[in-house]
Symmetry: D2
Subunit: 148 residues, 4 copies
């Protein structure tokens, strides 16, 4: 789909919000790409992010899916709005066994109040990417509530 942002600096606004999230720093998440209605985030492997088998924890996988969706939606919102996740649903399809987690989200519907996104999370191992998880997320736009 072809979305139009509502003001020119949407990308800077997404980046500034991302960098205010201290949890992104703790897990070393990188905001890799932002386009109107699209966002990509990556998280390199680190033993501190693992579950009992040494793979990326489901909590990290849901964090990257949710955050990519949140910023894909935020890229289409008004300048003085903030965004909240209403709910999301995530299917875990393959273990997070690899060196890089890649979350990509696309907006499906950008409504006046609610925005719906789908995310896919890939796990890269030995240079090959594999579908690890997929989610569907509902976000709400809070108008005239700046993000900071």
């Amino acid at each position: 789909m072809n979305f139009k942002p509502k003001f020119s600096d949407f990308k800077q606004k997404v980046e500034a919000s991302f960098h205010r999230q201290k949890f992104m720093e703790l897990i070393n998440a990188k905001l890799v790409d932002v386009k109107p209605g699209y966002c990509e985030i990556q998280i390199p492997y680190n033993a501190s992010l693992t579950q009992q088998h040494g793979f990326f924890h489901a909590g990290i996988i849901s964090t990257i899916a949710d955050n990519a969706a949140g910023y894909a939606a935020f890229s289409l919102m008004e300048e003085h709005s903030s965004v909240l996740t209403v709910e999301f649903k995530l299917n875990l399809m393959s273990p997070g066994d690899g060196d890089l987690l890649i979350g990509k989200a696309n907006v499906l519907k950008n409504g006046k109040t609610l925005t719906i996104c789908r995310s896919e999370v890939f796990i890269r191992k030995n240079g090959k990417e594999k579908l690890c998880a997929a989610s569907q997320t509902t976000l709400i736009e809070l108008k005239n509530k700046p993000d900071k």
Copy 2:
């Protein structure tokens, strides 16, 4: 509901698995209670766990909801089984604005292959607990695949 564990040391098995999850250590999560078909986890506030407004990040809230569900289910599985989350759906109802996050999960149905749980996540502020999020989760039992 009244569930019967399948072997006597189910609680030690849950605790051992929880302590092998390095991500739980990173975010300082505590396994507070395990009963047959029930699990409670708590995470004290720390600035490193926050989103852009300084509240618990949705990724942390989904981590506690998912992990409590996983271990509630695991408490009813066979001795030599391991557990994987198939999928979950989480509604975020109030901001994670407080000093302690409390996740409680109960098994709704313990089937031969799949187990369904519901979790509630509460946020405590000034000694008062408030419903912050609620989830519904599907888990799968992998028989004869020990957890470690």
Copy 3:
């Protein structure tokens, strides 16, 4: 939880809306109970409502779960509002093998714009009820948009 309706005739308003849904008539669904934040619907068995094994179709099970949630939420909305389902997630736990399907929904959170509900669907066979499905639903209140 203890919810307060926003006007005295909330029950008549729910009943009138239910009876305007022609699909409820087609599948012979009955509105059995409405309280503030609660709704119960029943559907007697009929061969025309079945899937390939002769049990209640998942589409009927999701209809009863969604509709009970919708009217539980509607019972707490303002007099001149209408309600729409934003999304729901349903786990099917036992086959719909029985003579009566019973859907019960409770409001978890009644917010200014969004309301969150949980439903349980029971199947009755030989006088015994069994948990058949469970859902979690998000609804939106459209203010000053009367239901008819």
Copy 4:
């Protein structure tokens, strides 16, 4: 994605199962297309399928999304298997205001036990199709349990 069916008559098996679902007959649903990992179902408008505003009822929209997902998954299962929906999550994005409802489902992951699908539901009005709903579904393969 490019999926390979496990036996040559997968399409006939899907069609035979669809036609055993009496609920499909009641709502006049048509199985329009079946390919390996893909299924399309259509339901023409009929006043008996409506909610309080005269549009397709959410129960019908979830039925078409779920059934398309079920048969997309079933097309990849073994000859003597049957299929059950474990759970699904559906976002309703536009009212079902039109003359034809079109459900299309694709398999995302076809695992040994579980299969994950995504469905999109479109509503056609005056010859134009609009995205009405989207879902994500988990299905389970029951081996050596023939469908009839």
